[in-house]
Subunit: 399 residues, 2 copies
Amino acid sequence: MKFEMITGGICAVKGVSAYGLKDGKYGLTLIAGKGTAAGAFTVNKLRAAPTEFTAKQIARGRLSAIIANSGCANCFTGEQGMRNAERMAELAATALQVPKAEVAVLSTGSIGTQLDMALIERQLGTVLEGVTIEPEGSMAAARGIMTTDTFPKEVAVRLEAESGESVVIGGIAKGSGMIAPHMNTATMLAVLYTDAAVATDALRSCLQDAVNDSFNMVIVDGDMSTNDSVLVVATGQRGPIGIETFRNGLTVVCKALAKLMARDGEGATKFVEVRVRDAPSVADAREAARAILRSPLVKSAIFGERIDLVCGRTIAALGSACITGELDQNKLAIGIKSETAEVLAVQNGQFLKLSESERAIMTAKELFLTVDFGTGGGAEATAWGCDLSYDYVKINAAY
Amino acid sequence: MKFEMITGGICAVKGVSAYGLKDGKYGLTLIAGKGTAAGAFTVNKLRAAPTEFTAKQIARGRLSAIIANSGCANCFTGEQGMRNAERMAELAATALQVPKAEVAVLSTGSIGTQLDMALIERQLGTVLEGVTIEPEGSMAAARGIMTTDTFPKEVAVRLEAESGESVVIGGIAKGSGMIAPHMNTATMLAVLYTDAAVATDALRSCLQDAVNDSFNMVIVDGDMSTNDSVLVVATGQRGPIGIETFRNGLTVVCKALAKLMARDGEGATKFVEVRVRDAPSVADAREAARAILRSPLVKSAIFGERIDLVCGRTIAALGSACITGELDQNKLAIGIKSETAEVLAVQNGQFLKLSESERAIMTAKELFLTVDFGTGGGAEATAWGCDLSYDYVKINAAY
């Protein structure tokens, strides 16, 4: 199996056309592409109207179009909110001449205000004219769903099985703050297309696995959104491919989008990868990695570039995580890598003496933290996040 | 039953003498006072050496002295760390001529470095000379355990039962950052004394109840420490008092100390109380209150004085909390009070239109948020915390 990163985002996928626009805070995106479909949604108990609506729509296993808006989350908006979500689906169905039952609706933005439906109708006219199979359609669609994101996020991969079959998987995503575990990152939206032919059940299983290893492992701030949604549609225009090959390919694309979210974390000055090794179970490894990246203290210490504080607080976070297997202080090791250096900071439960030049590894913009349980469990997990800076507070005191 | 706030902290309690000093980052506190004793400790799985040591000591049900240091947490320090914790107990036992088995040891500060035992021995000489039953002893003891705290914390209450019996309960505490739920606030230490005669079992039960309603409901940042400890000693010098009266009195003192921690939260510009009402169960009410105060987004919005964002993010936090009972968006109400104003912001699941003067309630330095489930469950809980400011990041990037 071979992967090749290609350009074009979702428009690199046969049978997909898209466009989007952003008027200040308010954006609208429209995507056309028929196929089998699956979704993953936030487990927040106060889910937004479009999230509830789309979860029902996608249960039928097919989608023909997606309409998404930014600026208003259409959350905590009661019956009016649900009518507006349905109305968005209707507008997209009419515009693209597809069945309303095959339209998904996504929203992201402020909670507690009603959608401005007149604005959405006006924007839809412009967006519909722009819908295209060219690469700029995907980039415009990615831009239309941005909120505090500082750049649009898209990824595409060409996947070649050993048999020579080749398909494309492309995705767009948004997400910068309110990012935390459980489906369920946080208002993060991701839309994935593939021209592979994949049955709905297989698509669901592949999506859940891919989401578990990617979006569910991104933490910006530990807040879980009411609107998180990931959708995948398989147009089937290039025929079938082995299911395990597809599962791996989908995971690669989801991980790439997830890392873009971590890189664009609100106020982030550093990208941080936490890899947990030799844990008692995958569940423990995941929980450990997330607990470390959830900690405001660990994140502040990364911002402050203090390796001693990062290690001490990583240990406190690890001890407070919901780990069910063995955690032995005397076997723990912590290492930190950058692009150019590598430092072992904790070994056999002891802080090692570090030279000034070793401590300077913390000035790197990309840090890779490895936490080794050393208890022989062999399980691994990787999570992605960022530091906690003054700008996180600034952005969130105002948005 | 009557409560009266009095001065003197732990030295208001008959049979207690204390002193402490702080040399820059490093402090030492020594307290003498014999009696039945109980403790509550962090559930962090990587507990510090003194925490493990003191949990074992207190299992015997009696204490005669407490020695506490600040600046070094003596956590993640292996066998050497445990030997140093024991050595601290020995030093205090010799100094005060009490059995080593009746000495508790508390530490707070940086993780991963060994104690400077020579410094502790030197400081102990000075502290021992200062030990006094006068009120300044309590204040000095409270100062000796400070880390990022900006003021020493002490409380004392005279408790009068209807029968006319009267006892005193006094406490000192420290805690400013790494403050989160589970015993188990975060490096928070609290030491309580009473001159009431209370049997060990009753003391344990009263302490756990008091801790659940007080320290376990304080959240500064959601990080759980490796060293959190609360100790209570009953000297019995004023005789017995009804157990329920004592339980209430202890809870009052613990809540007062807990609120002082929230007020002194790292970088805090506002004190925030969250009261959850009419929840399905006390467990749900507690979890809801803590989830709201744990949210960096809610806390940033409080710092930004934006009532709309506070309400929207409170809803997202509530929906993501581990609530097992009914949570109905259409019944939710959110109100905010200050010393001088009161605003109903959300009612029957709808955001109410607020005037500019109503929104200005957010400029108050003390805010009381009420979240009403409205589902008829009738359960309540209250939690205390603060906002998330630039200074939180600054303090934690460096300490």
